[in-house]
Amino acid sequence: MAALMPVVPLISLQGVHKQYPNGTVALRDVTLVVPKQDFVFLVGPSGAGKSTLVRLLIREEKVTAGKIHVEGQDLSRLKRRHLPFLRRKIGMVFQDFKLLPNLTVFQNVAFALRVTEGALRHLKPKVEEVLSIVGLEGKENKFPDQLSGGEQQRVAIARALVHDPKIFLADEPTGNLDPATSWEIIQLLLQINARGTTVLMATHNREIVDVMRRRVVAIEGGQIVRDEDAGGYHAPALESR
């Protein structure tokens, strides 16, 4: 397996510490390597540091110590004016969808292209393409409040896909959804992964992780307590609590 790993991993964290200005230590000595096209579940109880890790990856926060590389690029050396271009490489969805309520489905997705100065000519075909990937054809003119939770998350996923991201980050994407809908969203993420995008999904939802035979990275108290290639959520470290 090691021989097949790419020379430069897509994402690597080395000895990452994160302390917030109020003194809370959210991550301690986290080392993690994610190769291209991987699918990783980041699991752990609430407060474990999952969201912090995700925020470090899009550099919404900076590390206190240690190094993060994305595509070989050192994020702590990334200049502020280059930050938008990192974000365009990373698609990101959240528990609360972050859709704009006064825009239609089409406009919400197109917004991501418009504000990154995508040429208006190519806007419509691209939006239609990502909406068909997430299975929302025919809902282009609906407003977010006319959609179910699952459909809203699909819009957010479509929006995250318009820049053909290399990395897809999902922070508790199923946190607001019922189990059946959650399952559909996971299927969609697997499909996105199958198209060649590296996916990292943070969740505290055991059931989902248990049935998937995928890589699981477990964090607790800001530290990685387990990293298994195809395991469930039943780790000795977590069960002994």
């Binding site: 899009i58 004016r81 974000r87 990101m92 972050k98 418009r114 504000v115 040429a119």
Partner: protein, 300 residues
Amino acid sequence: MHRLWNRVDFAFSSAWQNFWRNAAVSIASVLIVWVVLLALGSLLLVLHSLDQIVALEKTKASAISVYLADTTPLSSAMDFKLHLENDPRVTAVTYVSKDQAMARFRQLPALDPSVIDTLGTNPLPASLDVTVRDIRDLGAIDQAVRNSPLVDRSPATNYEPNVIDKIILLARVAGIAGLVLIVGLTGLSVFIIMLTIRTAIYLRRKEIEVMKLVGATDWFVRWPFIVEGLFVGVVGAVVAVLIVGFGYRPAVVNLQSVLIFVPLSFDQYYLRLVLAAMLGFGLLLGSVGSYLGVRRFLKQ
């Protein structure tokens, strides 16, 4: 081209929406800009008029008109003229007859000729216009001629030692008061524009969050707010420019008819400068206000 157009289109349509979304605050900031620029324009024009008056008074300053009583025969007047010409302090003396005085009077810009014709007999005195080597001697000449029996009594001369000083003082006081007022209003308007922009940013916080998330550049996020600030500045300026531009000539004409002897004139060229300055200042207020509004709040 498409990208540039997209950027411009996005900035302008967002700015327009921002403006109307918090219309009350936006209109308040337009009003304050308007007041500042109106004050600025008026002050510049008033100071300019005072300047004109001072300049004219200064050219007159080395001369004094000695008014002759209507009973004075021409021969006595000529003797008096010779007497004055022999004074070492005097450089020249000109005799101005009653008719010449009337002709000069008719030249005054704002005087209605029909009013003069209703006067019947010519009320203006003949005069000796005395030019001196040194303006400081004017007072002594005035004293010397004042009590001559040939000289009219009401008034004896046009000697007004303090008039220039008074006008200069008036200009200085008006200038300082106006400046203080404008500086205060400028601060206030920049502050209100800043508040307007911050309100707009607050109302758009969700959009801004998404924009940053999907990789919009800082400037792409900022432009709509800068444009909104400039828009406030321009609208306030245009209204003020229209009022001053169309109001200046009627104001001058009205004042001329009230202050007949004050040499006030309409200066088209200077007016254009003032209007350009107002527009420029409006843009400056808008851009400084919106820059301050945007600066702190869009840092993450």
